[in-house]
């Protein structure tokens, strides 16, 4: 039966998650150089448009259509055939609204990867990759973890709002992608963010939207909704404070970029756990995500030498993995119905671990293959001249700002 209050909540949650993708564009766009901001914004807006279409045509049915052997959804719902307003079994919102909500997750996941190849990707290659990646990596992964019948779901994997499906998948793909496409030219020098206020704007609205992302994942108004809401906020806060303190100790100064990076790391970390843990645990999870993110971004990345332009791996991948595992540690039956290690259920941690490994392997291998294919067909990297002039002018024939006018 449809519940009106649940429906209202999910309408809003969906709208909030939709808003996160452009907002992510500003978070990323503020951090690139002036000559590349439009390309980042463009990529985010185009993903929003293209995946919205892909989802109603084919994506939704692959992810949530009637299960075929735990591996993929059938094509029964292609073109939203037969997807009406009557709720799915076990749900209280119109089926079409569930489609919408899940659509926004399908949209934001490839958008996260944008940060990895920023400032050097060919738009055509990007577009092909995105469509393939959504269809062949995201849709199956969503099926495995979230669809009843999906094999990881059947194993009992906990992923409240997409820590594994979204953040690990995107983070790992970002890492592989950034290695394959190679470093930016002249990287390391004068690569200061061209408009940090835009990045702060993005982070602020990501926080705002994440309430829809996490608390919306309860698919209605329940106790879990409120838990997830509160946990989202405290995790982000704990993570921000953690990064600030680390910055202060290690780099002798608290930075705005540090605080907003921490915020995102905290939001990522709490994502899989949001509806399963206590508020105090959420602070710890946020802080942990921030700490690990800090280490990866400040040290490991330098060591390994790949050029993940905007630290998608360091922030989403690492904090996502941490969050998925932490869910297996901190989950409490009282909040979300399942206990984790700390409440005497080590098995859950094992399940979480398996899920994480699957997500890593699947997205790494998948991204590798898709990259190679797209690179062959269209080429993925712009030539030196275009990179020097900037993607805005060379890929889109536009400038973000005028100098004289």
């Amino acid at each position: 039966m449809i519940n009106a209050a649940d429906t209202v909540w999910m309408l809003i949650a969906t709208a909030l998650v939709m808003m996160m993708t452009p907002t992510l564009g500003f978070f990323y766009g503020g951090l690139v150089r002036k000559k590349n901001i439009l390309s980042v914004l463009m990529q985010c807006m185009v993903i929003l448009a293209v995946v919205s279409i892909q989802w109603v045509l084919i994506g939704y049915t692959l992810a949530f259509g009637p299960d075929k052997g735990g591996i993929i959804g059938g094509l029964e719902f292609a073109f939203l055939n037969g997807v009406g307003l009557a709720p799915l079994e076990g749900q209280t919102i119109p089926h079409q609204l569930f489609v919408c909500f899940q659509m926004m997750f399908a949209v934001i996941t490839p958008a996260l990867i944008v940060g990895a190849f920023a400032e050097r990707i060919k738009f055509s290659g990007f577009l092909l990759f995105t469509i393939l990646w959504s269809t062949l990596i995201y849709d199956p992964m969503a099926h495995w973890v979230w669809a009843s019948g999906g094999w990881l779901f059947s194993m009992g994997a906990l992923d409240f709002a997409g820590g594994t499906v979204i953040h690990i998948t995107a983070g790992i793909s970002a890492l592989v992608f950034s290695i394959l496409i190679g470093k930016r030219r002249g990287n390391g020098t004068s690569s200061s963010p061209h408009n940090l206020p835009f990045a702060v704007l993005g982070a602020a609205f990501l926080w705002f939207g994440w309430f829809g992302f996490n608390a919306g994942s309860a698919l209605g108004v329940k106790g879990q909704t409120v838990s997830a809401f509160l946990n989202t906020n405290t995790a982000a806060a704990g993570a921000a404070v953690t990064w600030m303190i680390l910055d202060w100790f290690v780099h002798k100064t608290p930075t705005a970029l540090g605080v907003i990076t921490g915020i995102v790391a905290g939001l990522v970390a709490i994502t899989p756990a949001a509806g399963f843990v206590t508020p105090m645990a959420s602070i710890a999870i946020g802080a942990g995500g921030s700490l690990l993110g800090f280490i990866f971004v400040s040290y490991v990345k330098k060591k390994l030498g790949y050029d993940d332009s905007l630290d998608v791996f360091g922030v989403h991948g690492i904090a996502g993995i941490w969050g998925a595992l932490a869910t297996g540690l901190f989950a409490s039956k009282e909040i979300g119905g399942t206990d984790g290690l700390f409440y005497g259920n080590p098995h859950q941690l094992w399940v979480q671990f398996v899920t994480v490994v699957v997500a890593i392997v699947f997205s790494a291998v998948g991204t590798y293959i898709l990259y190679k294919i797209c690179d062959l067909i269209l080429g993925m990297r712009v030539d030196a001249r275009d990179e020097n002039i900037g993607l805005d002018l060379t890929q889109h024939h536009e400038s973000a700002y005028t100098l004289v006018d």
Partner: protein, 113 residues
């Protein structure tokens, strides 16, 4: 006719302008620049990448003056611009071959003021 280029600290602009005006020098052109000098830049930190960017924000003034105003102009700048620390800036002086007021077509000394 001389052309003065002065690079100063941004927050001194108002004071320098006021001092110049006291000396009847009202005309100038101002540009936002980055200066690379003896002054060590402030360390910048971006996600753990620490860089001492030695390009600092400065303001560049360009002032065309008649020869008899040159010393006044220099004195005014020297009075208002310094803080006494490294980074106070420099004055560069050039001979100017000609000056024309676009509106009237006046040339030379007449056009400068």
């Amino acid at each position: 006719m001389k052309y003065i280029i002065a690079v100063i600290r941004p927050h001194k602009l108002e004071e320098v302008k006021r001092e110049l005006e006291k000396n009847e020098i009202h005309l100038m052109t101002v540009v936002d620049v980055l200066g690379c000098g003896r002054q060590k830049g402030v360390t910048e930190v971006y996600r753990g990448v620490t860089e001492v960017d030695n390009l600092l924000r400065k303001v560049k003034l360009e002032i065309a003056v008649n020869d008899e105003y040159l010393d006044k102009a220099i004195a005014a700048i020297m009075k208002a611009a310094p803080e006494g620390d490294i980074g106070d800036g420099k004055i560069f002086i050039f001979d100017m071959a000609e000056c024309i007021r676009i509106r009237t077509g006046e040339k030379g000394n007449l056009a400068i003021g």
